[in-house]
């Protein structure tokens, strides 16, 4: 049977969008803002408890702010730190949307990064316009392949991706050590594991060095913004994104709708890995200039927090990544100016996550910021 209908007045009325509700606003704005505030307050209490006096606490928070956004250099540092966090966070967010809890960004990032370095110093003769994109591509591809292992294991055998990506992280550390000692990779004349440098025509160019050579902001920031747009497009505008989201929300209904779960799992993991690989590549090509053991510095794990904080939404991930970048840049300043340990930043970041993850807790602390119970949220 075939059905054609027409768009009459009654159906046209259904095309009106409701204004974003109060609940959505509370969820997306009020909770994160309060979470940051509570985390900062608790951070201050932690400092008090460790015998830091009040003026120092005041100074350290001023330093945090100044170090994050107080100068051109601060902003440059904040953005530089945000780039890999956002890239990897986007990949993780995409996985979350598809119902995959990928812990493996760290390993995918390392593998992608080293691949970019190797392609870079192996083909020094190529022009910049060719070599730099080629290095990024290598990073993305290798990251994707490395993540696909976990995806394939899940799809083919049901092995849970949390376990397999953790294992793959551990393997990646050792694998990197091994690669860095290969004669073709190791910087000649060095005994410690360190790679040859990335040639200049493979590097992501610095953007602000004409103002001050110390400004580290590099072209990866465009990559980051493009990735936000692409992931948004992929998730919300394409058939594939629809399949990802459907599988993540209700795998049963997705199966009934003819969406193949195995395909979705492998593909979502691969794309997440590609983004983590890009994060690694942009880090070595734009900031570090070479690969060393553990050059990822935990970015792959921080990215999990960024993806969660960003509610697995590309724009949210961008904002969360910028916040974490700011905390990192500001944290360094805080250490310099006030002599407060950088670990405190870690504590504050962790507290923010805790409060974001527990919106009920935030609601309980700030009852006046929210509508009373009975909102649309608690419908069975």
């Amino acid at each position: 049977m075939t059905t054609q209908g027409t768009l009459d007045a009654a159906s046209r009325a259904l095309l009106k969008r409701a204004a974003p509700g109060r609940a959505a606003f509370e969820d997306l704005v009020v909770v994160p803002v309060f979470a940051v505030i509570v985390a900062l307050v608790l951070g201050a209490l932690t400092m008090l408890a460790t015998d830091v006096d009040l003026p120092t606490i005041g100074r350290s928070y001023v330093a945090l702010l100044v170090g994050a956004v107080g100068s051109l250099n601060a902003i440059s540092e904040t953005l530089t730190a945000a780039i890999p966090l956002v890239l990897a966070g986007l990949g993780l967010a995409l996985g979350f949307r598809a119902g995959l809890f990928n812990i493996g960004a760290e390993g995918q990032l390392l593998m992608g990064g080293i691949a970019a370095v190797i392609v870079g110093f192996s083909l020094p003769g190529l022009p910049f316009a060719l070599l730099m994109p080629l290095c990024l591509l290598a990073g993305a591809l290798v990251g994707a392949l490395y993540a696909s292992i976990a995806g394939w294991l899940r799809a083919a055998t049901g092995a849970h991706e949390v376990i397999s990506t953790i294992m793959l992280n551990l393997i990646s550390y050792r694998l990197l050590d091994y690669i860095l000692r290969l004669p073709t990779v190791q910087l000649s004349g060095r005994a410690d594991p360190i790679s040859k440098p990335v040639p200049l025509n493979a590097a992501l160019p610095r953007l602000l060095d004409w103002i001050d050579p110390n400004l580290r902001l590099h072209a990866g920031v465009f990559l980051m913004l493009a990735a936000v747009a692409v992931v948004y497009w992929l998730l919300f505008r394409t058939k594939l994104g629809f399949e990802f989201r459907a599988s993540g929300e209700n795998p049963d209904a997705a199966r009934y709708a003819g969406i193949r779960a195995g395909w979705v799992i492998v593909l979502a993991m691969a794309i997440a890995g590609a983004l983590a690989g890009l994060a690694g590549a942009s880090q070595v090509l734009g900031v570090l200039g070479r690969a060393t053991p553990g050059f990822s510095a935990g970015i792959g794990f921080d990215a999990i927090a960024v993806a969660l904080l960003g509610r697995s939404h590309p724009v949210g991930v961008l904002l969360a990544g910028l916040l974490f970048g700011a905390l990192e840049a500001g944290g360094r300043q805080m250490q310099v100016d006030a002599g407060v340990s950088i670990d405190l930043i870690g504590i504050i970041q962790a507290l923010i996550i805790v409060f974001i993850a527990a919106p009920l807790l935030v609601r309980a602390i700030f009852p006046w910021g929210f509508r009373r119970h009975g909102s649309e949220e608690n419908r069975p």
Partner: protein, 508 residues
């Protein structure tokens, strides 16, 4: 106990789900609550059990106005609710589910399951709610799960028991047992509010009837004297026909032919045992049988969700035994799944997204890798209007629709695309009489346009009304076939075959 609702109004944004509703119920009586899909019955009950806060009005218990800060307060006040969609933990046992949230504890906060078990048995004996406290929920049929929900409510010593469409998921036999339970609760002095769309049930069990329409009380009726036609008219505001108008059968070539199909369950037990059947163009075939006799597995095999162990499925001359779900969809097989919430829709998606859940890849809705959302929204609006899915907008989360409107959404999606074969499992579960009438008409229309239609329903009356031919399944086999060409079906013979009795194999 006397509970009164006075002037209750509840809004969801621009939608007014309840408007100035006044209602009362007292101990020892059953209040039947009728109303079309989306009338606001579930919402009103959610206000009463403390899940929603009303915008206006008050709740009065035994003369005192009360204010619930949440479900906990309502439970403490003696109000318990069995929801339209169950809320049990599938991997927990009956006893564990019953005590969840109010666990009896011994010394050092140790969970005292023994006393919970004893209490479950005690409640069971008192009200005829027999269930094994140690059985795991997911192994229980829906009818028994429902008893667990009721025990849960009684365990919290409720004096008012709210039952939201409890019979929608029950087989006719289970409904009879269920009514026995309701009567014993009433005789024990409990107040009961009972929601259903089946008018025959409400006149049988209720002492009083109130009717909601568009959020307002539109009238009361006396179950002893009320005519079903009047109740239906009161609910939907227009006369409703209970008979299906069906032109005589003009069956064409076979569309679906199944040969010696064997389907196994997860535990390798045989669910479908060498079944052969044919569905012809222009014919409605009804699949009758007590739930759990292999109908579900048969339909899963026909739709590609479960690979058969042996046998063949031929569709329009092509062998589709091993074809994927997607391929079958593309070939024109529509499937209305049995359980809308679990497998028919995605609650977190919008109405529009759900409308294209299995057609988004179609050329109508996509270009290259992209979905053309404006087209999707337009089609969703058209289908929603056509099938009377009550929603303020196609951008509403489908999970926020009323139960019946969720069902209409699923049916609308499946019947709004090009089909040659419609496989419908419980197509009208949870629908009001008006919507049932409409969906039945659409299924007959599909038949008139030359589709083959296969209907599975636990409601024998529905199968009787729609089918040209009825197949009865028992223990995985088709044990009887009844033809409607000559006269009306022999209801008692069908019932006998469903129970595996003598009518099997010989009847015709």
């Amino acid at each position: 106990m006397q509970v009164e609702l006075k002037g209750i109004t509840k809004r969801f944004g621009p939608v007014v789900a309840n408007r100035d509703v006044t209602l009362s119920v007292k101990g020892g009586e059953v209040l039947g609550l009728l109303g079309e899909n989306g009338a606001g019955k579930s919402t009103l009950m959610n206000v009463l059990c403390g899940l929603y806060a009303q915008d206006e009005g008050e709740i009065i218990i035994d003369g005192d106005p009360v204010s619930f800060g949440g479900p906990g307060a309502a439970i403490a006040a003696g109000i318990g609710m069995v929801h339209q969609h169950f809320m049990l933990v599938p991997v927990f046992t009956v006893a564990e589910n019953v005590v969840l949230g109010v666990e009896p504890t011994g010394r050092l906060d140790r969970l005292d399951l023994a006393s919970a078990r004893a209490k479950v048995t005690e409640i069971g004996e008192k009200y005829g709610l027999h269930v094994d406290p140690d059985e795991v929920i997911e192994n229980l049929p829906v009818g028994v799960q429902q008893r667990v929900e009721i025990i849960k409510v009684l365990f919290r010593s409720a004096d008012l028991v709210i039952l939201d469409e409890p019979t929608a998921v029950l087989t006719p036999q289970e409904v009879e047992e269920f009514f026995g339970i309701v009567r014993s609760l009433r005789d024990a002095g409990k107040a009961i509010i009972f929601i259903t769309h089946k008018l025959g049930e409400i006149t049988e069990i209720a002492d009083r009837i109130s009717v909601l329409r568009a959020g307002e009380i539109v009238g009361e009726a006396d179950p002893k004297t009320a005519r079903l036609e009047d109740l239906a008219q009161m609910m939907v505001g227009r006369p409703v026909s209970f008979d299906v108008d069906k032109p005589p059968l003009e069956a064409g070539a076979p569309i679906l032919a199944v040969q010696d199909l064997v389907v196994l369950r997860e535990d390798d037990a045989v669910a479908v045992d060498r079944v052969s059947l044919t569905v012809r163009s222009g014919e409605i075939v009804g699949l009758a049988g007590v739930q759990g006799n292999g109908q579900t597995e048969l339909i899963e095999a026909l739709t590609g969700l479960r690979m058969p162990a042996a046998g063949t499925i031929t569709y329009q001359g092509a062998d589709i035994t091993r074809a994927t779900v997607r391929v079958r969809h593309r070939m024109g097989i529509a499937h209305i799944p049995e359980d809308r919430q679990r497998s028919g829709m995605i609650g977190a998606f919008t109405v529009a997204e759900n409308m294209v859940l299995d057609t988004y890849y179609d050329d109508r809705f996509s270009r290259g890798p992209q979905i053309i959302w404006p087209k999707v929204h337009e089609q969703a609006a058209i289908s929603a209007t056509e099938f009377d899915v009550r929603t303020p907008s196609v951008f509403l989360r489908a999970g926020h629709l009323s139960g019946g409107n969720q069902q209409k959404l699923v049916v609308a999606r499946e019947l709004s695309r090009e089909t040659k074969l419609v496989i419908a499992a419980q197509p009208t579960r949870g629908l009001d009489v008006g919507s049932v009438e409409y969906i039945h008409r659409r299924l007959v229309e599909a038949r008139q346009e030359g589709d083959g239609v296969l209907i599975m329903s636990s409601e024998l009356d529905e199968i009787l009304a729609l089918s040209d031919r009825i197949l009865v399944m028992f223990k995985g086999r088709i044990v009887a076939e009844f033809d409607a060409t000559a006269a009306a079906f022999d209801k008692s013979a069908i019932g006998l075959a469903m129970a595996g009795g003598a009518g099997a194999e010989v009847a015709a």
